[in-house]
C-alpha cells in the first residue's frame, strides 16, 4: 500500500516539479524554434505515458494487493489488447519521429546563401576564421601549423591570403543572416555548443564537420565545449556576440587578415 502511495506521490511531485522548476531551456536565440517544439511534443507524449504507467501500477497495487482468500486470475495472453497497445505505441512513436525527422532534414540543409565561418578548436581555446573579400576560405593542413600560422592555412593558396583571423575566443555574427559553421580541430575532439542556439556539433581532427543556424536575438552568449577534451574541458570558454550588420562589419574590419599577419 505504501508503494501505491509512493508512486502517486512521485507522479504528483514530478508534475509539480516540472511546472515549478526554475531550471528550463535558455531563451532561444536562433531559428531552431522547431527543435523546441519537437521537444515539447515529445515531453507531452512521454509525460503522459509516465503518469499513466505509474498510476496504473498504483491502482493495480491498491485493487489487487494480497488479501486472505484472494486469488489471481489466469490470463496467459490477450492478443487483442496486446495488438491495440502495440498500435497505440506505434502511433505515439510516429507522432514524435515524424516532426523530429522533418526538423532534422532542415538542420542538415544549409541555405545556399549562408555565410561561412570556420571554428577552430584546440586544447583549450577557440579561434575563428572568416573568408575574406573573395568569399572563400583558404585551404588548410595541419602540416602548416606553427606559431605564426595557428590555423595552418596553406600559404600558397591565394584564397587564404585575405582570410580574416580572429585570435580571441570571441566570435561576432550578424543578426538574422544564416551562417554555416565549419568546424575543425588540431588535436582532440571538441564540441561547439551555445545553449541558446540549440544546435551543437563535434570538432574532429582530420575532418571538417558543420552545422548552420540563423541568429535571431542580439546579445552575448557563452560558447561551451561539450565533448570531453582533457583537463580543462570544463573551462574551454568563448563567446558569441550577435549584433546588427553594421556593428558586425566594423568588428570584422578591425580583425587582421592572414596576409597581414605574415
Amino acid at each position: 500500500m505504501a508503494l501505491a502511495i509512493a508512486l502517486v506521490v512521485i507522479v504528483v511531485a514530478t508534475v509539480a516539479f516540472h511546472f515549478a522548476s526554475p531550471w528550463w531551456f535558455t531563451p532561444i536565440a536562433s531559428n531552431w524554434g522547431l527543435v523546441d517544439d519537437t521537444i515539447l511534443i515529445t515531453l507531452v507524449i512521454t509525460g503522459a505515458v509516465f503518469v499513466a504507467v505509474n498510476l496504473f501500477i498504483a491502482l493495480a497495487i491498491v485493487r489487487f494487493r494480497h488479501r486472505a482468500g484472494h486469488r489471481a486470475a489466469f490470463e496467459p495472453e490477450n492478443r487483442r489488447l496486446e495488438g491495440r497497445l502495440t498500435l497505440l505505441t506505434t502511433a505515439g512513436i510516429v507522432a514524435m519521429l515524424a516532426p523530429g525527422l522533418y526538423v532534422y532534414s532542415q538542420m542538415i540543409a544549409a541555405p545556399d546563401d549562408a555565410a561561412q565561418v570556420e571554428v577552430l578548436g584546440r586544447q583549450w581555446q577557440w579561434r575563428f576564421r572568416f573568408p575574406g573579400a573573395d568569399g572563400r576560405l583558404g585551404r588548410t593542413d595541419v602540416r602548416y601549423v606553427s606559431a605564426d600560422n595557428p590555423f595552418g592555412v596553406n600559404p600558397d593558396d591565394p584564397h587564404g591570403r585575405d582570410d580574416v583571423l580572429v585570435a580571441s575566443p570571441e566570435l561576432h555574427l550578424p543578426l538574422g543572416r544564416p551562417v554555416a559553421l565549419l568546424l575543425r580541430s588540431h588535436d582532440v575532439l571538441h564540441n561547439f555548443y551555445v545553449p541558446q542556439f540549440r544546435v551543437k556539433m563535434d570538432l574532429v581532427p582530420g575532418l571538417v564537420s558543420r552545422f548552420w543556424l540563423t541568429p535571431t536575438r542580439a546579445g552575448r552568449f557563452e560558447i561551451l565545449c561539450a565533448e570531453l577534451c582533457g583537463l580543462a574541458h570544463y573551462n574551454m570558454r568563448g563567446h558569441v556576440v550577435v549584433e546588427d550588420e553594421a556593428a558586425f562589419r566594423a568588428w570584422l574590419a578591425a580583425q587582421p587578415t592572414f596576409a597581414a599577419l605574415r
Binding site: A6, I57, I61, H66, E82, I93, L101, R143, D187, A226
Partner: protein, 581 residues
Amino acid sequence: MSDRDLHTEPHSFWTKYVWSQDHKVIAIQYSLTAIAIGLVALVLSNLMRLQLGFPGAFDFIDPGRYYQYVTMHGMIMVVYLLTALFLGGFGNYLIPLMVGARDMVFPFLNMLSYWMYLLAVLVLVASFFVPGGPTGAGWTLYPPQAILPGTPGTEWGIVLMLVSLVIFIVAATMGGLNYVTTVLQARTRGMTLLRMPLSVWGIFVASILALFAFPALFVSGVMMLCDKLLGTSFFMPAIVSMGQPLAHGGGSPVLFQHLFWFFGHPEVYIVALPAFGIISDLISTHARKNIFGYRMMVWAIVAIGGLSFVVWAHHMYVSGMNPYFGYFFATTTLIIAVPTAIKVYNWTLTLWRGDIHLRVPMLFAIGFISTFVIGGLTGLFLGNVSVDIPLSDTYFVVAHFHMVMGVSPILAIFGGLYHWYPKITGRLLDERLGKLHFWVTFLGTYAIYMPMHYLGFLGMPRRYYAYEGYEFIPASAQDLNAFITVAALVVGVTQLVFLFNLAWSVRHGRPAGANPWGATTLEWQTPHTPPRHGNWGATMPEVHRWAYDYSVPGAARDFIPQNVPQEAGAGGEGPVWGGQV
C-alpha cells in the same frame, strides 16, 4: 547432459571453493568480485558528487582526479559490475538450475572464465597505482584524446584499461559460450524453448549479444593499443598536440566511435535483457499470476536483441559522421521502443488481477518498472535525432542513462538477490533491513536523477569538473546540485545496510525451506537447499508444463511447479508439495 555421469563431488576446501568448477560456486565468486569492484565505483561516484555539490570544498579532487573518477566509475559500473553480475553471477547460478542441468556444459571453461575476469579486475585496479594514475578519458575512451597529453592517465592508465578490457572480453566469451550452449544443449527432458522462464530467455539472448558485440570493443581496443604503443594511425589523424606535431596521420577518430558504439549499444541490452527476464519472473511469482503475454515477451526479447545491433550511431548524432545516417538510426532507435513498451505493458498487466504480495523482491521489481519507464521514455528524446542535438552531452543524458542502465538494472539485481538468496544460502534476507534498503534506494534515486533532467534542459554539459562563471546557469542550479549530492550520499551509505544484510543473514537469517515464495520454476524444486553439487541428486527432473502455472483455475494450490505432471496439476486434488518431487 541429463545422462551425463555426476562428476564426483569435490572435497578439499580448495577444489570446493577456489578452483571450483561448480556453476553455483563460480556464480558466487563472480558476484562477490563484481560487488566488491562495484563498491569502488560507488565510492568514486560519491566523490564526484561531493565536488559537484560543493565545488572546491574537497581540494584533493582536482580536475584530473575528477575525470579519472568519471571514467573509472562509468567503466566499472557498466562492464565490471553489471555485465559480470548479470551474466557471470545470475547467468551462472540460474541457467543450469532453471533449465534442469547438472552444471554448465563446459565446467572447466567456466572456471577459467571467472579467473580471467578476476585478472581483468586486478589489472583495472592496478591502474590506480601506476604513475599518472588511471585513465581520465571518459568511459568511451575516445581517441585521440584518450592517448594524448592533456588527459590524465595517458602514460599507463589507458594501457592498463585497454588490456583489462581485452582480458575481460576473453572471460566474457568463455562464459558466453557456456551459457548459450548450456541453454541450447543441456535442457532437461520436457524443457522446450517456450517453457523456459523469462530469466533464462533474457540471459540467453544477452549472452548472444555479448558474444557478438564484445568483439567490436576488442577490435577498437586492440587498434587503439597499437596506436598508443606502436605508433600506428588507425584512429589518429595528423595532429598538433600542445604545439607539437605528432608522427601520426590519416586515421579516423570517427571509426573508433562506430566500433565502440557497435559494442556500446548492445551493451545496454546485455544489461537490460537479463533485468527484463528477472523482473518478469519476480513479478509473476509475487503476483501469483502467470506472466501476461509470455510469447510476446519472448519475441520482444529476441526482437530487441536483434534490433540492438542496428541502432548504434544514435550515440553519434553530433560526432561529425555523415549526417544522412541520422535518419536511419533515429528510425531504428524509435522502432525498438515498440517491443520495449510491450514489455512494460505486460508487466503492468501481470499485476492487474493478480494477488500481489509486496515482499521485498516485489518492491524492487515494481521500483524497476517505474525507473525503467523514465529511462525508456527519455531515450525517445535522445534517439530522435533533432531532439537529441540540443540535449546530447548534457545532464539530460546523464539522468537518462543512469535511470535506464544504472538504477533500474541495479534494482533488478537487488530484487533478484532478495529473491534467490534463500536458494543460495538456505536463509532469507532480513525483511526489515530489506525494506529500509528499498525505500531509501528507490526514493533516493528519484531524488537524484529526476531533477537532473532539468539541469540538462537548462543546458548544463556533462563531464564538467565545475560550472563557475557560466552566466546562463542560475545560482539556484548549484543549490540543486548540492541537494542531489546529499541524496547520492544517503543512497550510497544505505548500500552498507544491504551488505550487512547479505553477510549477517548467511548465519542468522530465517531458514527459508526449499521454496519460500511458492515458485514454479525448477530451481526451487531441487532435492536440497542450497542445491548440492550436481543439483538434482540421483534423478533428473522432468518438465511437464510452462514456468507460469500460477493460480491455475481448479488447482488446489496457487502454483504448480514445472516438474509436476499435467494430469496431477489439472485435477482438483493437488500432489504432494514442498519441492521434493
